[in-house]
C-alpha cells in the first residue's frame, strides 16, 4: 500500500474540498443530490481515515507516519509536510467522524434561511481546515488550515444563526483573528530565531514542526522565547478558549445553528489545545515551563468560573457552552503539568469532550427544533413527552460530569491527578492547590448538569406544551447519535483504546522536553 502511505492523508484533507467543488455544480433545487454528494464525500473521507487507522503502525505511535514532505513554497522554505502520530491520529479520526454525523443530522434539520447547498458546502470546507490542522507538520501549513476554518464558521453562525447572530459571528472571527495574527508573528520569530541544526555553521532556519521540536528552542535566549511563547499562547488560548479569552464562546454557541455548535465544540476548540500539545510545548519547552503555572492558574479559574457561570444560565445552549469553558480548563490543566500523564489525559479529554459536548449540542438543537425554545424555565418533563430523548440527555449529562465508566471520566480524573506531581520541577505546592480547586470544580459540574437535567427532563410537562405534538428521536437523529453514544460508553469502559495510541507519542514528547530543560 505504498501509494496510500503517500496519498492517504492528502486525500483525507482535500477530498472534502473536491466534494465542495462538486456541490457547486449541483443545481440548488435538487436537494436530494446535494445531500447525497455531501454525505458521500464525508463518508469517503471517513473511509480513507479508517484506512489511515488501518495503515497506522501502533508499535511506532511516537513517530510520524504516512509522512509526506514535498516542497511547497520553496522561497520561504515552507514545505507541504503532513503526517500523523499518536497525538494527531485520534483527533483526525474524531474530526472526520463528527462531520459525517453532522451531515446525517442535517438531513431533515435545516436551520433558517434554508439553503442546503451553501450550508453543506461550508461544512465540507470546514472539514478540510480541521483535518488539515491535525496532520500539518509545517508551521505555515498549520497556519493556513487553522485559518481556513474561520470563514465557514463565520458564515454558519452569521447566516443560519439566532437573533444575535451578526454580533456573535463577528466577535468569534475578530477574537480568533487577533490571536492567530500574533501567532503568525510567533511562527516567524521561531523561524528566524531557532537554530534547527546546531552542528552546521550559522543559524539554520526551518518552519518544520518536527525539526523545531527537536531543536527545542536551541540558540534562542530566554527572554525571546518567553515573548514568542506569548504570541503562540494568545493564538491557541483564544481558540481553546481559556479564561479570560472565552467571552466569544457563549455568544457563538448560543447563536450558531445546531451543526455549527456541534462542530465548534467537538473540533474547533481542539485546534487550540492541540496547538499547545503539538507546537507550543515541544518547540519552546523552557518558556513553556515558565508559563506553565500561569496557564495552570487560568485553567483552574476557567474551571470554577465556567461552572459558576453555568449555574446562572437560563438558556440550555449557553449553559452547555459555559460547561465547555470548564471542561477545556481540565484539558489545559493536564497540559500545563507537562507530564505524560497529564497530556495523555488532556488528549483523552479533548476526544471525550468532543463526543459528549457534541452530543449535548445535538440534543439541545433537537429540543429547540421540537419546543422552539431553549429556556430552561419553560422546559420540563421531557422524560414524559419524549422519553428516549430524555434518557439520551441524562446519559450525556452523566458522561459530561465525569461519571466513571463513561468517557468524560478519563479526561477529567487523570488530569486532576496529574497536577499532584507536575513535571520538570514545576512547583508542587502551586499545582496541588490547582488540583484541589479543580476537584471542587467537578463537584460544581455535577451540580449544574444535574440541575439542568432536573429542570429539563424531570418534573411535569409545562402548561404551554401540554398536549403538544412532540416527536421523540427521529430516524436521522438515531443514525447520527448512536455512534456517539456507543463511543462514549466504549471509551468509558475501555479507555486504553485511546491511551494506547497516544501514550507513545506523549511520552516521547515529554521526555524530549525534560531533556531540553535539563540539558
Amino acid at each position: 500500500m505504498d501509494w496510500f502511505d503517500s496519498w492517504g492523508l492528502t486525500l483525507v484533507v482535500f477530498l472534502p474540498v473536491v466534494g465542495m467543488a462538486a456541490l457547486l455544480f449541483v443545481p440548488r433545487r435538487n436537494e436530494m443530490a446535494l445531500k447525497a454528494v455531501a454525505l458521500v464525500t464525508t463518508l469517503v473521507t471517513l473511509g480513507v481515515t479508517v484506512g489511515v487507522l488501518a495503515a497506522f503502525d501502533y508499535g511506532r505511535t511516537r513517530e510520524l507516519q504516512l509522512d509526506v514532505n514535498r516542497t511547497w513554497i520553496d522561497v520561504i522554505h515552507s514545505n507541504y509536510h503532513v503526517g500523523v502520530d499518536g497525538i494527531g491520529l485520534p483527533l483526525l479520526v474524531l474530526s472526520a467522524f463528527i462531520t459525517v454525523l453532522c451531515v446525517v443530522y442535517s438531513w431533515n434539520h435545516w436551520p433558517d434561511p434554508y439553503n442546503p447547498k451553501a450550508f453543506l458546502a461550508l461544512i465540507l470546507l470546514l472539514e478540510t481546515g480541521m483535518n488539515g490542522t491535525f496532520v500539518a507538520q509545517d508551521l505555515i501549513l498549520f497556519f493556513i488550515f487553522f485559518e481556513i476554518v474561520l470563514l465557514p464558521m463565520f458564515f454558519m453562525i452569521g447566516v443560519w444563526g439566532g437573533p444575535n447572530r451578526e454580533y456573535a459571528s463577528l466577535k468569534f472571527f475578530l477574537f480568533t483573528l487577533f490571536g492567530s495574527a500574533l501567532m503568525l508573528l510567533g511562527f516567524l520569530a521561531l523561524y528566524f530565531k531557532v537554530d534547527v541544526d546546531s552542528a552546521a555553521t550559522g543559524i539554520q532556519h526551518s518552519f518544520d514542526i518536527v525539526a523545531l521540536s527537536n531543536a527545542a528552542g536551541a540558540g534562542t535566549v530566554h527572554g525571546t522565547q518567553m515573548l514568542i511563547f506569548g504570541g503562540l499562547f494568545l493564538g491557541f488560548a483564544i481558540k481553546v478558549p481559556m479564561f479570560p479569552f472565552h467571552t466569544w464562546l457563549p455568544d457563538a454557541h448560543t447563536e450558531a445553528p445546531t451543526v455549527g455548535s456541534v462542530l465548534l465544540a467537538a473540533i474547533l476548540l481542539k485546534l487550540g489545545t492541540y496547538g499547545f500539545v503539538r507546537i507550543a510545548l515541544p518547540v519552546l519547552p523552557e518558556a513553556a515551563k515558565a508559563w506553565a503555572p500561569w496557564i495552570g492558574l487560568l485553567s483552574v479559574i476557567g474551571i470554577i468560573y465556567g461552572a459558576l457561570a453555568c449555574l446562572a444560565q437560563t438558556d440550555m445552549k449557553r449553559l452547555i457552552a459555559f460547561s465547555s469553558v470548564a471542561h477545556m480548563g481540565f484539558v489545559m490543566l493536564g497540559i500545563s503539568t507537562m507530564t505524560s500523564f497529564g497530556i495523555n489525559a488532556a488528549i483523552f479529554g479533548m476526544v471525550a469532550h468532543g463526543l459528549i459536548t457534541g452530543m449535548l449540542f445535538f440534543v439541545a438543537g433537537s429540543m429547540q427544533h421540537t419546543f422552539h425554545t431553549r429556556e430552561l424555565s419553560r422546559l420540563g418533563g421531557l422524560l414524559l413527552q419524549a422519553p428516549k430523548m430524555g434518557w439520551i440527555l441524562g446519559f450525556c449529562a452523566m458522561a459530561s460530569l465525569g461519571l466513571p465508566g463513561l468517557a468524560g471520566f478519563w479526561g477529567e480524573f487523570p488530569a486532576i491527578l496529574s497536577a499532584f506531581s507536575p513535571g520538570n520541577g514545576l512547583s508542587e505546592v502551586t499545582f496541588r492547590t490547582f488540583m484541589v480547586v479543580a476537584a471542587i470544580g467537578t463537584v460544581l459540574a455535577a451540580g449544574y448538569l444535574l440541575w439542568m437535567l432536573q429542570r429539563v427532563a424531570f418534573g411535569t410537562v409545562k402548561e404551554e406544551f401540554e398536549g403538544a405534538d412532540i416527536h421523540d428521536v427521529s430516524m436521522a437523529e438515531w443514525i447520527a447519535w448512536t455512534p456517539l453514544l456507543l463511543l462514549i460508553a466504549i471509551l468509558g469502559v475501555y479507555p486504553n483504546l485511546l491511551f494506547k495510541i497516544t501514550d507513545g507519542a506523549v511520552v516521547q514528547m515529554t521526555e524530549a522536553m525534560t531533556k531540553a530543560i535539563g540539558g
Partner: protein, 499 residues
C-alpha cells in the same frame, strides 16, 4: 558628441505602448461616435501586445542598460512592466461598458489611461532622478484628468482639483529635494549617488534632501499624512478610474519609492539613518489611520480608498525593515524586503481590482455605492457575492486567498530585521489586520446576513468584459493563495541589480 546607443529590443515594450497611444488618439478623432468603443479594443490589443517583447526579453535574461545606467531593463523592471500592462488590460475590461454607456469621451479616456501606464512602464526602468521625475509626472498628469472625468459632477471636479493641487505641491517639494541631492553628490544617477554616499558618508543636507524626496513619493502612494486627497478623488472619479488609481498609480509610486530608496538612498546600509524612521512612521500611521478611517465609511468606494491607504502602509513596512537592518550592516534583509514589496503589490493589485470589478458590476444594478445597497446580494446574485467575499477576505489576509501571502512576506521582512522597532511595527501591522477585517466584514454581513432590500430580486447581469476581469482576478487570488510559490518565485528573481 556621441549619440546614445539604443537597444531597440529593450525599449520595445515602451515603444509599442507609445505607438498604441498615438493610434488610440487618432482613432478617437476619426471614428464616428457609435464606433468609438473600438478605441478600447485598440488599447487592449496594445497593452497585451507590449507583453510580447517582455516575454522575449525575459527569455533572453540579460540585464540591459542604456543612457549611462539611467534606464535599465532587468528582471525587476520586466516584472513591474508586465504587472502594469496587465493592470491596464484589466482596467480596460472594467471600463468598456462603464465608459461606453456613460456620458464620456471614449478615445481620450483610453489615451489618458495608456499614457499613465507608459509612465509606469518607464518608471520600472528608471534609475536616474530626472527619468524618475519625468516618469512620475507622466503617470500623474493623465491621472488628474481621469479623476475629473465625470465632467458634470461638481464633486468629481472638486476632488480632481484637490488631487491636482496636492500633487503639484508634492512634486515641487520632491523636485527641490532632488536638486539638493544633485547639488551635494554631483549626479542624478542613483548608482552614483550610492557610490558618493558610500565613499563620503552622509551629511545633514543629504538627509534633508532625501527626506523631502520621500515626502513627494509619500503623496503618490497616499501614505498618511499625505493621504487626504485619496478618499475624495476615489469617490469622485468614475469607478474604473478609481480602481486604476488605487492599484496602478499607487503601484507606480511604490516602484518609484523602491527605485529611489533601494538603488539610491539605501547605499549599502550606509545611507543616512534618518530615512527609516520616516518610513516607519508613515507605515504605522498609514495602516492605523487608514483602517480607522475605513471603519466609519458607509460608501464602499470610500471604504476601499481608506483600505488602500492602509495597504499602502503595509507595503511600507518592508522599507522600514530594510532600513533598520541596513543600519546594522545587514544587507540580506534589504533583498528580501525589496522582494516583499513587489510580491505585496502583485497580490494587492489582483485582489483590489477584483473588488472594484464587483463594485462596478453591482453599481450597474443599484446605481449606488452605499454599502447598504449590498444587502442580500448572496440571495440575488450568489456568484457575485461569493467572489466579493473572496476578494474582501483576501484583502483581510485570510488564507487560502492570496492576501495571506502578501501579509506574510510583509511580516517576514519585519521579523527578519528583528529589532524591537521592527517587531513593534509587525505587531502594529498584526493588530491592523484585525481591525481591517472589521470593515470588510461589514460588507460581507450585508451580502450574506441580510435580506435584499430592492424589489428587483433577479440576478445581476454582468457584461462579458467585466465578468472576464472578475474571473481573471479571482483566479489569480486563489491560485496565488494556494500555491504562493508562483509569485514568490518572481519575488526571488527581482533582485536589486545595479545597487
Amino acid at each position: 558628441m556621441v549619440s546614445p546607443v539604443f537597444d531597440w529590443h529593450a525599449l520595445a515594450p515602451d515603444l509599442i505602448l507609445a505607438g498604441t497611444i498615438l493610434v488610440v488618439l487618432v482613432a478617437g478623432l476619426v471614428l464616428p461616435e457609435r464606433e468609438a468603443w473600438q478605441t478600447s479594443r485598440i488599447a487592449s490589443i496594445g497593452a497585451l501586445g507590449a507583453l510580447i517583447p517582455i516575454a522575449t526579453l525575459a527569455a533572453d535574461g540579460t540585464n540591459r542598460e542604456m543612457f549611462g545606467g539611467a534606464y535599465v531593463v532587468d528582471n525587476y523592471a520586466l516584472a513591474m512592466k508586465a504587472f502594469f500592462l496587465v493592470v491596464a488590460y484589466v482596467t480596460i475590461l472594467l471600463s468598456v461598458d462603464h465608459i461606453g454607456e456613460g456620458d464620456y469621451y471614449q478615445g481620450e479616456f483610453y489615451f489618458l489611461l495608456l499614457t499613465s501606464v507608459l509612465g509606469m512602464s518607464a518608471m520600472a526602468s528608471a534609475r536616474d532622478l530626472i527619468t524618475i521625475f519625468v516618469a512620475l509626472e507622466t503617470i500623474s498628469i493623465p491621472s488628474y484628468v481621469l479623476a475629473t472625468y465625470r465632467k458634470a459632477d461638481r464633486r468629481s471636479n472638486e476632488a480632481g482639483i484637490k488631487y491636482y493641487l496636492m500633487g503639484v505641491l508634492s512634486s515641487a517639494v520632491m523636485l527641490y529635494g532632488m536638486s539638493l541631492i544633485f547639488g551635494v553628490t554631483g549626479s542624478t544617477k542613483l548608482r552614483e549617488i550610492t557610490s558618493y554616499v558610500v565613499a563620503n558618508g552622509t551629511s545633514a543636507l543629504i538627509a534633508v534632501a532625501m527626506f523631502m524626496t520621500l515626502v513627494g513619493f509619500a503623496f503618490k502612494v497616499s501614505a498618511v499624512p499625505f493621504h487626504f486627497w485619496a478618499p475624495d478623488a476615489y469617490e469622485g472619479a468614475p469607478t474604473p478610474v478609481t480602481a486604476f488609481l488605487s492599484v496602478a498609480s499607487k503601484g507606480g509610486g511604490m516602484v518609484a519609492l523602491l527605485n529611489v530608496v533601494f538603488f539610491g538612498f539605501y547605499a549599502q546600509g550606509r545611507g543616512p539613518g534618518a530615512w527609516w524612521p520616516v518610513l516607519w512612521g508613515m507605515a504605522a500611521l498609514s495602516m492605523t489611520l487608514g483602517n480607522l478611517g475605513a471603519l466609519k465609511q458607509t460608501n464602499i468606494v470610500r471604504m476601499l480608498a481608506y483600505s488602500s491607504v492602509a495597504h499602502g502602509g503595509f507595503m511600507l513596512v518592508p522599507f522600514a525593515a530594510a532600513g533598520i537592518a541596513g543600519a546594522r550592516g545587514d544587507l540580506v534583509v534589504a533583498d528580501s524586503s525589496f522582494a516583499a514589496v513587489v510580491v505585496y503589490l502583485f497580490i494587492y493589485g489582483a485582489m483590489n481590482l477584483g473588488a472594484f470589478a464587483v463594485v462596478i458590476a453591482v453599481a450597474r444594478r443599484t446605481g449606488s455605492g452605499d454599502i447598504s445597497s449590498y444587502s442580500g446580494l448572496f440571495q440575488t446574485s450568489p456568484a457575485l457575492a461569493v467572489m466579493m467575499t473572496g476578494f474582501l477576505a483576501s484583502l483581510a489576509g485570510i488564507p487560502f486567498l492570496g492576501g495571506w501571502y502578501a501579509k506574510f512576506v510583509m511580516f517576514k521582512s519585519a521579523l527578519e530585521a528583528g529589532t524591537a522597532w521592527a517587531v513593534g511595527l509587525a505587531v502594529i501591522a498584526a493588530l491592523n489586520s484585525v481591525i481591517a477585517f472589521f470593515y470588510y466584514a461589514g460588507v460581507i454581513r450585508e451580502m450574506w446576513f441580510r435580506e435584499p432590500a430592492a424589489e428587483d430580486r433577479s440576478e445581476i447581469q454582468v457584461p462579458p468584459p467585466l465578468a472576464a476581469a472578475i474571473g481573471l482576478t479571482c483566479a489569480a487570488v486563489v491560485v496565488v493563495g494556494v500555491y504562493p510559490q508562483l509569485v514568490a518565485r518572481v519575488g526571488e528573481l527581482v533582485t536589486r541589480i545595479g545597487s
